[in-house]
Symmetry: D2
Subunit: 370 residues, 4 copies
């Protein structure tokens, strides 16, 4: 283990791995550290929807253009990452149907239908696309661009790609703390201390200790998301179905993912009986015959929630060698490329998107108060 | 593989393995064949309740004395099997509480409370024993003698014990058919043909092909039973709870088993979403706080049901070298020792229990009709 | 369950599923039966190399042109199957390097290098392509066309594709026997009897009972193949490595498969300590640093071997409504499309390849003897 | 979550859980915290040998009497824990055979044979006890008192037992740091801050960050231990076999554990190919026919090694409200009861064993230097 790097990235989930990829590709000397294995915590439990539209709840937010930009980056990344890393990110087209079963649900889709990329389908059209949907379907917002990837493979592809571009990866390397001395940071780990010119904190919901250590008062709250993976004897869905913050995602291997619960302030990754019942009921609301689907497995992960639901992306307010990229809540996979681009541009002092950096700065709560 | 044995037992589940044990202990020369691994189908999915009382639905049946006799045999077997096989069968005392949440449910327990070994506890007493039971509990039949074992370990202990007494065990040995020539039977298997003086058919619900082959018209119907294995942060149950054919069984390793569904005529061992929802609701009816329990795994197996719910145990009606022991429905673990004793006594022409043999003969349907 | 089909295919592995796909696409009325789940036995354990060249041991055999034809069929199938079934078969280019570590091993590749599609690379060139290969590498036959697919997903894609074209799939439907009456076949299953005009036997090594039942004397012998699935911190292989009948296959998910043992006449799918040691040593012979690779899992399956190593494909010699497609040994995935085409052409009385049918007929042993 | 306890124990492995049990039984008000689940790290991977003799390498050490005392405590604990927690710790008699295959290996057992509780068996006698041992066995030290328990169940039994005695258990509660204010300690966790009069650090190899935080300069080094769990068709071993720091342990469920590697300074719990090969070779050295054993699974855990191989047990040198119990290396399960007794006696100011406390104090390295 070398003891000196230009940049040390703490956290090998989808955010840290994509940052490692973007920085290594820009020829920086990068070490990527993870307390466990690459992509093995929250990333592993994600459904992988690139839901720029479907995850957007209103039209005022900065979220949408940022998410769209990230979603579009994946179009090129899917081939680039395969070529470099030899790992397939499982990019799957088909799009999302955001379902409405009554008029009020249809109303809530109004903001979404303003987008030229979104199309309204009435109940009859939805049933033609997906015959298993419940008969009383009123219609759906059809979002062709909200496609899927396979999260673990995407994360592995970023990390292996970074490695091919020269980055060093250290798994099972837990970080105790970060100290500054002169112009260097000393990252204390289970495997010894590493010196770096810059440090990136990308440890998702597990960032709280580190944030305290580097003098940041913001904290993240876990929102557990549990999903059921199922097999079906029925013809496979061609679109992701989305209803009331839940979804059914078809996978390239023929399996379906029913997700996800939203259990606030829960640090365990276990699957509760109540959550399972809730997911089963959600699936039945969308597809009545799902009661016959067979259980293949479960996933569970802790989404990192910030006070306002938007991520923290940018420089430490008082320490310009420390960068923060965490708090992506339900949207880590979707936002990873755009987040990595922002961090890279900041670090290389390229022309970065100031509007986004303002929106996502970690001290925005204090600034707002004033 | 020797090609000649005194007795070939087809089927290495709990029934075939216990018969192998009893015969080998009686110094017979036994081969035990299984198409897969010992105890790896229906046996594996059993909860292991020795529910002589709790599984008995009325007092007229021959089932009760037969089941009681088998239950009592386990008291000695638990130490004997450990000594011989070095495998612990997980015998666990504590007994069963058969719950009643209203007066009509209490009425249904009336027949059970006639037994001197069964005691009525009112709601207050039940709550004292198990505080997590739903508050509106009316009372329970407390059956101290209905204890539990761990089914796979019990089956392994029988099979290994038989091996120690000289039996040969052949796993992954599928049987195609049985032919008689002179006084011998020729058992055709994937690994070649084995000659035997006597054959025992103990293949549970998978017996249909063989029964046809040996000229028996009775067939077995699968009734799938699915269970959820859970972990809990709460204090562990000290008793098995039983309610409406479902149960929650505490295990020696601190886990609980919630079982079991009754899906008729289903040949798949997969776990359906509907079944999971049903089991979760059953558990909540007994213990409301079970909604917080964590899923640890599932089990599933196909119970072999006969036309009248009683097993087939005895000689082939027209072929005295063939013995049949199948169709034990929900009670294979419970009834294994008594079944093995009956088969052994028949084979050795010891004084056998004629009443039981009459009740369980495979041609009883035809006899009844006449 | 309908009780009457034009064609009943027994066996839902890669061979039966591909036949179902080709027949259903040709608008035949097909039922596909499997005793367990689609693709869940030998298919699941395959590595998925489309090794038309690498599996060919000499140049006289009919194997090579047949295998090449099948390999080429996959080029179109990969997109066609995705479009129809929504399942990705994981087609992965890169090709195979068949390694030689000394001159005698190089000599053995001579026959292969006659093929215009195969190129000799010397040790230096091999190390440039795959730096982790052992330093004393002499060279390799580079076979660009021997690509990979993911076997289970390919099998699922065939089966689901058949379903989309109208086929019925019955899992957990064990077949006891087949009887002919007038012009119909009656297939006796755990779920009742199905009538069919034609029957296809595609049950791999589990065909022996059925073959006996339909009067065929040939039998299949299992040759167990065990593999280790591993993860690596090293850069991922870009090519499949092949050495002494063993191989290391890179997967689209970044994992590697080290396979496979050849355990003759073994009916168990368990993984033995000896096999594991052998696989580890094979991997180290190719890639010394593989000793650091991490175990992710195992696969195991029983290859169906015939007396001469070639499959049985064609009509029953004396019963023209019965078709046989089994005994594909190490090459079921590779040969599935060409096998399915042959069966379809025979059944539709299209112009079929007579040379291949002669080579693969099930009574060839008797014919040869005469 | 209450925010105030008399004692907070950090670490829910076998050491922390046994301390919780002893303190709660002594009517102290205890909270037991674990960053993950109870017993789910190093404890889970232990073989569970209570090897007071077999783990002792020479006769000068304080280790032996301490270990003997702990071993004897288990004799009563096995019933007590079952009664209180309803969990069976899997106490299994049979003893250990420490094998010698040549004269020099026999010499090394000399110190052990001084103990009255240890008996020499010559090769002939060893073969009579365990027929599968390699024929060239010279003899074995037979240690009847070195029995086994099942580590996870033992740990769960301690924790659940503590809960029954009133302790609170908080899983998934990671500790960032400990601060002292007046006479109280403030334990900062992912779930908020808990105040305590006393704190126990029992986080095994994961203690380093905490030890730094509380001003202790000693650090622990991980020594990874990997094991293979196997099934066998052979008669089951009746004794644990021990040879060259490796062992084969028979389990109550009929499985065997082959362990364990000693990989120094390794923080990953993954299983490497090299380690597997080494374990397989060790098993074959003891039992040649083990090459046929079937792989059932793996375990892996990080043993906490101190500078001199002895644990740290006692009070913080400069802070009398902090207690330390970590660094038990290969012997956490064995030493847990005696460790818990020492901590309890210290805390309650009972008459404690001063000799042991001197031997295990955390500042012994500095004291020795002087």
């Amino acid at each position: 283990m070398r003891s000196n790097y230009e940049v040390v990235i703490i956290g090998g989930g989808i955010i840290g791995s994509s940052i490692a990829y973007y920085l290594a590709k820009a020829q920086m000397d990068v070490a990527l550290l993870d307390g466990g294995a690459i992509g093995d915590k929250t990333t592993k439990a994600a459904a992988g929807m690139l839901g720029a539209h479907s995850e957007c709840e209103d039209d005022a937010s900065i979220f949408f253009p940022f998410a769209r930009s990230s979603q579009q980056a994946y179009r090129e990344l899917k081939d680039e990452l395969y070529e470099i890393s030899q790992i397939d990110i499982g990019y799957r087209e088909g799009g999302i149907l955001k379902l409405a079963f009554d008029e009020s649900e249809k109303q809530k889709l109004h903001y979404l239908l303003q987008q030229p990329s979104v199309q309204w389908l009435d109940g009859h059209e939805v049933k033609k696309l997906e015959t298993a949907v419940a008969d009383h379907i009123v219609g759906a917002a059809y979002i062709k661009d909200d496609v899927n990837v396979i999260p673990t493979q995407t994360c592995q592809a970023f990390a292996k790609g970074a490695q091919v571009f020269g980055a060093s990866i250290f798994e099972n390397t837990h970080v105790y703390g970060v100290q500054k001395l002169n112009d260097s940071y000393f990252v204390k780990t289970t495997k010894g201390t590493i010196e770096a010119k810059r440090v990136v904190v990308a440890t998702g919901v597990y960032s709280n200790g580190l944030l305290q250590d580097i003098g940041v008062s913001e904290q993240l709250t876990p929102v557990k998301g549990e999903s059921i993976v199922v097999q079906t004897n029925q013809p496979i869905l061609q679109h992701t179905l989305f209803y009331e913050k839940s979804y059914i995602v078809p996978r390239n291997n023929g399996k379906l993912v029913i997700g996800a619960t939203m259990i606030e302030d829960e640090w365990s990754e276990s699957i509760s009986l109540q959550s399972m019942e809730d997911l089963i009921n959600t699936a039945k609301a969308m597809i009545p015959s799902s009661s016959e689907w067979k259980i293949d497995g479960f996933t569970s992960g802790l989404r990192p929630a910030t006070f306002d639901g938007q991520p923290f992306i940018g420089r430490h307010p008082e320490d310009e060698g420390i960068f923060i990229a965490c708090g992506h809540f339900r949207n880590g996979i979707l936002l990873a490329p755009a987040t990595a681009e922002l961090i890279r541009d900041l670090m290389l002092e390229k022309e970065e998107n100031k509007e986004w950096l303002d929106a996502f700065r970690i001290d925005r709560r204090q600034l707002t108060k004033v």
